[in-house]
């Protein structure tokens, strides 16, 4: 699990659109995976993790309305001392913008893009994990990438203006 944690975290962030939700999603995914370790034997680990992440994400969405609300305060609002840590604001900003764009995609497009371009599954693996045809994954991926490219290009144009 720790070996795949970074990919899992990025996937969770892109699915949920928020770092806080991504952390919760990864935690819950890991709890589910560790509760049933025998299922890892005959299946590729990262594909299995993506399957559990997807199921956890969908079930979490269904119960989201029953969860306590969590307010996020931007770190800039706190007069914090210098950290001296390896926090990378540029990378974090880029990830925030890109993952927010992905999170705004229709759910099927989002899952296809996360499975292939973030988790790194093949089209065939993604189709199996997402319980659909390989051709469907390809179509969803095409449209997801097109929407992401156009949205990011539009954002960049607004900044230039």
């Amino acid at each position: 699990l720790p070996a795949h944690l970074d990919r899992l975290y990025r996937a969770a962030w892109a699915l949920s659109g928020s770092r806080q939700d991504a952390e919760d999603l990864v935690q819950e995914t890991c709890v589910r995976v560790l509760a049933r370790p025998r299922q890892l034997r005959n299946e590729d680990e990262i594909a299995y993790l993506m399957r559990v992440l997807r199921n956890t994400f969908l079930s979490t969405k269904r119960t989201a309305s029953r969860r306590p609300s969590v307010i996020t305060t931007p770190v800039e609002d706190l007069a914090l001392p210098d950290s001296g840590t390896a926090f990378k604001p540029d990378a974090a900003y880029e990830a925030t913008e890109v993952y927010a764009t992905i999170a705004a995609l229709p759910e099927d497009f989002r899952l296809a893009l996360v499975a292939v371009d973030i988790v790194g599954l093949s089209y065939r693996e993604a189709a199996k994990v997402l319980a659909t045809k390989e051709a469907t994954i390809t179509t969803r991926l095409y449209r997801a990438r097109r929407q992401v490219a156009r949205a990011l290009s539009s954002n960049a144009a607004k900044i230039d203006d």
């Binding site: 770092r19 370790p37 089209y123 490219a149």
Partner: protein
């Protein structure tokens, strides 16, 4: 030029952009792209998205990694295998005994709020001294996780206590400043404690801090190396506790 139908173009452009298109089809499509501005634009969009999304290499926060690592280190759930090997009546009997033992030994599950009661209690031990040669810590630590020395911020240690709660060893150090008479800082060994209802959550320098209000106290909790840390006080604003907590997390205290 013989243009392909649109769905076929979409599929092949998708694969061309991430280099999974087989060589013969690739060469044919590249020829089409060279002659069609529309196809070239579509390929550029696909390639841009692939490049941008795949270039993000942001890492999971340290606190999340510590938490998952602690989860992974837990012993496997043996009862799953017992169910395969033992008759169901024995499994039920064993489960009942285990449940009774667990209830007898630990009572209610250990939550952050329960741990915070220790941080709000009186000291039973003398205050720990600053660590010689390390301005960031005092001499008390649990499983290698040290308590901070906040003298540079105007806080002195005033006492300590050591407790055992539901199988968790919990050390607490008490601090005071000119403005605030008492803040308790507890660190619980073992698996992360259950957090419960959170009023506010903040991500500071990649670490998730959660604010809880309970029993008239303000509580801030977060993880350090998989250990649950709890700062609790009465009549102290959450912002003050968050400053202390985040300063600890970002300093050389490990």
């Amino acid at each position: 030029m013989q243009m392909r139908d649109q769905p076929n173009n979409e599929e092949q452009l998708t694969r061309l952009a991430d280099e999974t298109l087989a060589a013969p089809a690739r060469e044919a499509l590249l020829r089409d792209v060279a002659e069609s501005p529309e196809l070239a634009a579509a390929l550029a969009e696909q390639s841009d998205a692939v490049r941008i999304v795949r270039s993000i290499d942001i890492e999971a926060p340290a606190a999340l990694r510590a938490s998952v690592t602690a989860l992974a280190r837990r012993p496997p759930r043996q009862r799953v295998r017992w169910q395969l090997a033992l008759p169901s009546s024995l499994v039920v009997g064993a489960a009942v005994v285990a449940l009774v033992l667990a209830l007898a030994s630990s009572g209610k599950p250990v939550t952050v709020v329960r741990a915070a009661h220790l941080a709000l209690s009186a000291a039973t031990l003398t205050a720990p001294a600053p660590t010689v040669g390390d301005p960031a810590t005092v001499t008390t630590a649990i499983d290698g996780v040290s308590f901070p020395d906040w003298r540079a911020r105007g806080w002195q240690t005033t006492g300590a206590r050591r407790d055992r709660l539901g199988g968790h060893d919990i050390d607490t150090v008490f601090y005071s400043s000119a403005s605030y008479p008492a803040v308790g800082y507890s660190i619980a060994a073992g698996a992360p404690l259950k957090v419960g209802s959170v009023e506010q959550a903040l991500l500071i320098h990649g670490v998730r801090f959660e604010v809880i209000r309970a029993d008239g106290a303000t509580i801030v909790t977060w993880l350090r190396d998989g250990h649950t840390c709890v700062l609790a006080a009465r009549n102290v604003e959450a912002g003050v506790l968050l400053h202390l907590a985040s300063w600890t997390q970002s300093s050389s205290v490990t």
